[in-house]
């Protein structure tokens, strides 16, 4: 393995001020330091005689992560916003940068006629499989000029996941949306992301927080500040979202936390799960005031939830939700797991057979499930796949001809 470390030198450090990245040289010694020559300075925002960044010096530089193809992913900040670079130090190529061609519409390929003027902020998709960025179309983009968008790059493909104009459909009729800003994001795949955004615009200017589900196939409004929610009974409006709490699954369900106001003005923290649809389906997972037993050396005590601080699905399986909560009483807290027990997740194994033009889907033979398919996650229409699975060793397998255009989504029920 290789270890890289991001850091910042104080501005007085021998001309080395600013952001730097070191790499540990192999083989590792238990203690490694630049002073003793085992850590190598490989990149610096201020140059420092290292390989120059595209466009010259940048005020900010950090290594973001590693792409599936093992390429390094860098974030470099400049006066025009952020650029995302790929590759080894000194041999960078731009993945996202101001002025780049961007798709003019969902599903379209990037076009020089619709460039973006500004990139940022940026975030990594789950597992480091790609990068998600807020972008603003340049003046040269004509009708799209000044519109903000959400772009995702998986190292190969640049996708338009959402942009301000589309959100009109999910807000009040006649509302004009001018801009969206990326608040928090959780992306379980490189083609699906749950996003907290601030939406601004309108003939009567407004600014509100919204939770959206963005994908290859559409943008869907899951919840919005000041709107009522059907669960639990008596919720008159969302007061505010708890931004750090956001967990999305590949099937499009999203867990989020919000402070809601009940009839009579009382407020309560609630942890929701929402499934997109017409209408969206909300389920209360937990809410403030819920209790659970905690075993201590003094015996069982009852813990009472007051607030939700974070939530994350078990990576790759999405069967159990890890939740950090505050509890009633001074400085009391807990980390708990939801799910498990009656719930079991089974992973579908896709194999693309290009020669025969079929997609083979496999799952454990011990799971007598029904395979269903839908053309969309935004407006799900799950129907059984009319192909009988066959036993292949300890697996069941279905061979699905690739004979229809557009995306298809599969699940076991």
């Amino acid at each position: 393995m290789q270890i890289f470390v991001n850091g910042v030198y104080p501005t007085t450090a021998g001309g080395r001020g600013g952001a730097v990245v070191w790499r540990a040289r192999m083989p590792f010694a238990p203690v490694i330091s630049e002073r003793h020559g085992v850590v190598q300075l490989v990149a610096a925002a201020s140059g420092m005689g290292l390989g120059s960044l595209p466009g010259g010096r940048w005020p900010f530089l950090r290594l973001m992560g590693v792409l599936p193809d093992k390429n390094l992913l860098w974030e470099a900040g400049g006066t025009d916003g952020t650029s995302v670079l790929r590759g080894e130090p000194g041999a960078w190529s731009a993945l996202l940068e101001p002025g780049m061609a961007a798709p003019p519409a969902r599903g379209a390929v990037p076009s020089p006629a619709t460039p973006v003027a500004r990139i940022g902020p940026v975030a990594l998709a789950a597992g480091g499989a790609g990068v998600i960025a807020e972008a603003t179309y340049a003046a040269a983009a004509g009708d799209l000029s000044g519109r903000s968008a959400l772009l995702m790059h998986d190292g190969t493909t640049l996708r338009l996941m959402a942009f301000a104009r589309e959100i009109v459909d999910g807000t009040a009729p006649g509302t004009r949306v001018d801009g969206v800003s990326l608040g928090a994001v959780d992306a379980p795949t490189t083609s699906l992301a749950a996003v907290y955004q601030t939406i601004t615009g309108g003939t009567r200017p407004f600014s509100t927080q919204a939770l959206l589900l963005a994908s290859d196939t559409g943008t869907w409004l899951l919840a919005r500040q000041s709107d009522p929610l059907p669960e639990p009974a008596g919720v008159t409006r969302v007061v505010q979202f708890r931004f750090p709490v956001l967990a999305a699954r590949p099937d499009g369900t999203v867990v989020f936390a919000a402070e809601v106001e009940l009839a009579g003005g009382r407020r309560r923290e609630v942890l929701y799960e929402v499934t997109p649809g017409l209408p969206n389906a909300y389920r209360v997972l937990l809410s403030a005031g819920d209790t659970f037993p905690v075993a201590t050396s003094d015996g069982l005590r009852t813990a009472t939830i007051t607030r939700f601080n974070s939530a994350s699905w078990r990576p790759g399986i999405f069967d159990r939700l890890l939740v950090a909560v505050d509890l009633a009483g001074d400085a009391q807290s807990a980390v708990i797991l939801l799910g498990g027990g009656a719930e079991t997740a089974v992973r579908l194994e896709p194999i693309l057979d290009g020669l025969e033009g079929v997609l083979r889907l496999r799952w454990p033979a011990t799971v007598p499930s029904i395979l269903e398919s839908s053309p969309s996650l935004m407006l799900p229409d799950w129907r059984p796949v009319p192909i009988e699975p066959v036993l292949a060793g300890d697996s069941r397998e279905v061979r699905i001809p690739i004979d229809t255009p557009g995306p298809r989504f599969f699940r076991l029920r």
């Binding site: 393995m1 270890i3 890289f4 470390v5 991001n6 104080p10 450090a13 010694a29 238990p30 203690v31 490694i32 330091s33 630049e34 002073r35 020559g37 085992v38 850590v39 290594l63 992560g65 590693v66 093992k70 597992g127 480091g128 795949t189 083609s191 699906l192 290859d216 937990l286 659970f292 037993p293 905690v294 075993a295 201590t296 813990a303 601080n309 994350s312 790759g316 999405f318 939700l321 890890l322 950090a324 009483g329 009391q332 807290s333 807990a334 980390v335 797991l337 939801l338 027990g341 009656a342 997740a345 089974v346 579908l348 896709p350 290009g354 889907l361 255009p405 599969f410 076991l412 029920r413």
Partner: protein, 196 residues
């Protein structure tokens, strides 16, 4: 229609019916005593994160115990029901050698562990922790450290990444210390150690 155009739309999802009310399992909570923690009880938890093997790393602090008015920071690991175990806490000793040449291992009293799991990035086969060396040591003055550990803990020893820059000002040597923020770990072909 080509496969290339079709493939990005393929998304495989598998779920079985979920229970109506999700059961709650406590990973760790205030007042509990993790394994290997003696009599110490957890005071506060900042949060937790998964690794690829389904373990959960937790960070937080123990309750203060007299005479110290401050609780020790700690990192715990959980791998199943009632399995929370102390991994590191303030004051633990870790191996240390000086310089690039492997020398004698000197146990040093390290660090106040950062209360959050700073520095963690995929792949999750390795854990990265951030700490501050608070003790003046031979060749390593007060400094920050970012160290990496492998969950298996056998093939890869604990590794420190320490950085300081020798700066000469008016004939005197001083050290300018950068702020270390996080570690990015890249697995390369031939890595011996996998956690799952």
């Amino acid at each position: 229609m080509s496969l290339r155009n079709w493939l990005p739309g393929v998304l495989c999802v598998a779920t079985l019916a979920r229970a109506a009310t999700p059961p709650v399992e406590v990973v760790l909570a205030t007042g509990q005593t993790p394994r290997d923690a003696g009599m110490a009880r957890v005071g506060e938890l900042d949060g937790g994160l998964w690794d690829e093997a389904g373990r959960v790393l937790l960070s937080g602090r123990y309750r203060p115990s007299p005479p110290s008015p401050v609780g020790r920071n700690a990192i715990w690991v959980w791998s199943g029901p009632a399995s929370a175990t102390e991994l590191y806490t303030d004051g633990d000793s870790v191996p240390y050698t000086s310089g690039p040449v492997v020398g004698p291992v000197i146990p040093i009293s390290v660090p106040r562990i950062q209360p959050r799991l700073g520095g963690y990035r995929p792949p999750a086969n390795y854990w990265a922790f951030q700490s501050r060396v608070a003790t003046a040591l031979p060749l390593i003055p007060e400094n920050q450290a970012l160290w990496v550990d492998h969950p298996v803990g056998t093939a890869d020893p604990t590794i420190f990444v320490v950085n300081d820059l020798e700066d000469h000002v008016d004939g005197a040597v001083r050290f300018t210390r950068p702020t270390l923020s996080d570690a990015i770990i890249r697995e390369v072909q031939g890595d011996r150690c996998r956690s799952s």
